[in-house]
Amino acid sequence: MIMLKNYKFDKYKNFYFKVDKLEIKESERIFIVGPSGSGKTTLLHALCALESKSYGELIIDGVPIKGFNDQNLKKMSLMLLTQELGLWVHMSAQEHISFAMTQGRSIKEEASSWLNLVGLTNKENRKPHELSGGERQRLALARALCTQPKYLFLDEPFANVDAVLAYELMEMINQQQKIQGFTLIKTTHHYLGLKDEKIIILVVNQGEIIQKGTWMEIKSSPIDEWTKKWVRLML
């Protein structure tokens, strides 16, 4: 379980991100939505200890986490997938998977099976610049999934890809969640899967979580103007 308590982060001048209390239980699926600049990424970063200049408590699996370099954090099996992907430019696709799984040792067969899973068959030896945009997305996803994380954080990773590919990749994540059972926390502008009743939506606006609930709950009583417009658009 991840818990954020009395959390405050000075993002810019006159812009604070605040959370009084937020609990995310194991294997939950959390989608963070909100207008641009509302603090979605800040909340996601807060939950994986990436915001260094913050105040408050972050507790993961009962252990207080002091910052991103806290040694306890390494044991928590966190993984992040972002729009920028963060691929390692000097490594081949296979080396990405090998490093993610073993931190150096080469594991060709296992690496190939993960690459096959995301549709990168026969692309094992290619480096990121030798892959297309969609293939790079697939590689980043394979790297994230092969670590078998306990908590997977997605920061609008599919914002720049076509709807069909975004759907395919999201389906892969859903399947892997059923197999691996990880907690999924995602910021999104896409509508994919939002209406699923198992998904908990956090609506963020002006540096605060203003509403929490399933699609049905939020649809029945949207809390502010932006949420009302958003619900109307989703219908």
Partner: protein, 496 residues
């Protein structure tokens, strides 16, 4: 097309001095002219040059690693800014001024000339290596570090993710410092450490046989071509970048930030204090009046050179970035860098040959050649500065689509977006021109003086009071310039 019309003749003129030297070499190439390269005198000096260059490269890398780690582990922006200021100051100040200060220390004078040269040149060059490393680390995408840190320890991330991406900049920095030390003439010359570059300079000063001196340029030209060839391989992929860095990786070193910054600050203040000490024994007002014309002269020449240099380098930079061919881009950059890796005295030799060819030794020709020599040295630095800091944004695509006329583009787009770049660059180049010694020694018209020449001459006479005064004035000018550059760059950059 307009760019080509202005740029190509300028580039042709730019390479004229080197062409003159190489023509002289090719024209008189005989078996006997190459005999110098078989003498023990040559091998001894070449050995000294290589040993010093290796020593300075290794020690510069060592101190640069410390300052780079300190930069990235600094928790606050102001500590990074102080460190940047110190690095820029150490890089901008002429090593002759370090020598002035350090020569007052008895223990320093007891060191071997090799160790003295090594120390002074390390202070001069480690900031350059630091800047290369810092800029390279900044270009590693932050999410690639974040993801890796979620998987494994900082040590492993450093070993498997950072070092493989950093080894090219490390080799580049090593090669550049090696070459800059190899061609450095002033410090070994002053300290009496016999290097090949020092021998080359002293031969040009005596001017005993211009043909023989031209042959001495062969190792410089060959080595600079070799290093540029290696850099071509290394830098091909460095022309594009990702931006943003990871400060997360070095957070564990935070406890060393303040000790390192305090040590660097102390060294800087100590060097200044050694100079200030002398001022109590002299009449500052009289010295200032006596040296006013030299100061004015230096500043006008340097500022004028800075303006010309920034104009020319912005023209080249604009051409490089508007050209689609990777080979033309990297070829032009590397050719422009050539003069940076050649001794100033080599281009000055070409200019002396040019003046012999023109048969004109007037004062105005002397100044024109001097400014030309400064430009040859500072334009490559300007290009590196522009490329490293990615200082100019090209609005071309949008403007082409809108079909806006050139005057309006210049007035509403080019000036507002580029004036800080042009101004910053002019200041940087003015500072470099102020420090250029070898070309000034060789090309300044008889009876004329500049600040750096006066400092150099007074050091030989042992007039430390005047040297300290002039050095402090130069230091103050550089400090003011650096602060101004920092202020201008701050508006364009957010380190964090």
């Amino acid at each position: 097309m307009k760019n080509y019309i202005i740029l190509f003749p300028l580039i042709f003129i730019f390479f004229l001095p080197l062409t003159f030297v190489l023509f002289q070499v090719a024209n008189g190439l005989t078996q006997s002219s190459l005999e110098y390269f078989t003498t023990s005198q040559f091998s001894h000096k070449l050995f000294n040059s290589i040993v010093l260059s290796l020593g300075v490269s290794i020690s510069s890398l060592f101190f640069a690693l410390i300052s780079t780690i300190t930069f990235f582990s600094s928790p606050q922006r102001w500590t990074r800014e102080i460190l940047s200021l110190l690095l820029f100051m150490f890089f901008f100040i002429s090593p002759i001024i370090y020598l002035t200060a350090l020569s007052k220390l008895t223990w320093f004078n007891h060191l071997s000339t090799y160790t003295q040269s090594l120390s002074v040149l390390t202070i001069k060059f480690f900031p350059l290596v630091s800047m290369i490393l810092i800029l390279s680390l900044v270009k590693i995408e932050s999410n690639s570090i974040r993801v890796a840190l979620m998987i494994t320890s900082s040590k492993n991330v450093f070993k498997y993710i950072v070092i493989p991406q950093l080894y090219k900049p490390l080799i580049t920095a090593f090669l550049i410092v090696f070459m800059l030390t190899f061609i450095h003439q002033e410090v070994p010359s002053f300290l009496g450490y016999r290097t090949y570059a020092e021998e080359f300079l002293s031969r040009i000063v005596v001017m005993d046989n211009i043909g023989e001196i031209s042959f001495m340029t062969i190792p410089f030209v060959l080595l600079s071509f070799l290093i540029l060839g290696i850099l071509t391989q290394i830098l091909n992929k460095q022309l594009t970048s990702n931006s943003k860095s990871s400060f997360l990786l070095f957070q564990n070193f935070q406890k060393y930030t303040f000790p390192v910054i305090i040590t660097f600050s102390a060294l800087f203040l100590f060097l200044n204090a050694l100079l200030v000490e002398e001022l109590f024994q002299i009449n500052i007002k009289t010295l200032f009046i006596d040296n006013f014309s030299v100061l004015k002269n230096s500043f006008i020449i340097s500022f004028f050179t800075g303006l010309l240099g920034s104009f020319f380098s912005l023209l080249v930079y604009r051409f490089i970035y508007s050209n689609n061919s990777k080979y033309i881009k990297s070829g032009l950059i590397l050719f422009m860098l050539l003069y940076w890796l050649l001794p100033s005295s080599l281009s000055s030799l070409g200019l002396i040959e040019l003046s012999i060819y023109l048969n004109d030794y007037s004062k105005s020709i002397g100044y024109i050649l001097l400014i030309f020599a400064y430009l040859l040295k500072i334009v490559p630095i300007a290009l590196l500065f522009l490329i490293s800091f990615e200082l100019m944004h090209s609005p071309d695509m949008f403007l082409k689509l809108q079909n806006i006329n050139t005057v309006n583009i210049f007035k509403h787009i080019t000036v507002p977006t580029s004036w800080t770049t042009w101004f910053t660059l002019t200041i940087v180049l003015t500072v470099f021109s102020l420090n250029e010694l070898s070309s000034t020694v060789l090309l300044i018209p008889p009876g004329e003086e500049t600040l750096i020449i006066k400092i150099y001459n007074l050091m030989h006479y042992g007039d430390f009071a005047s040297v300290s005064f002039l050095s402090l004035i130069q230091m103050s000018l550089i400090l003011l310039s650096t602060l101004l550059i920092g202020f201008l760059l701050r508006s364009k950059y957010d380190y964090a």
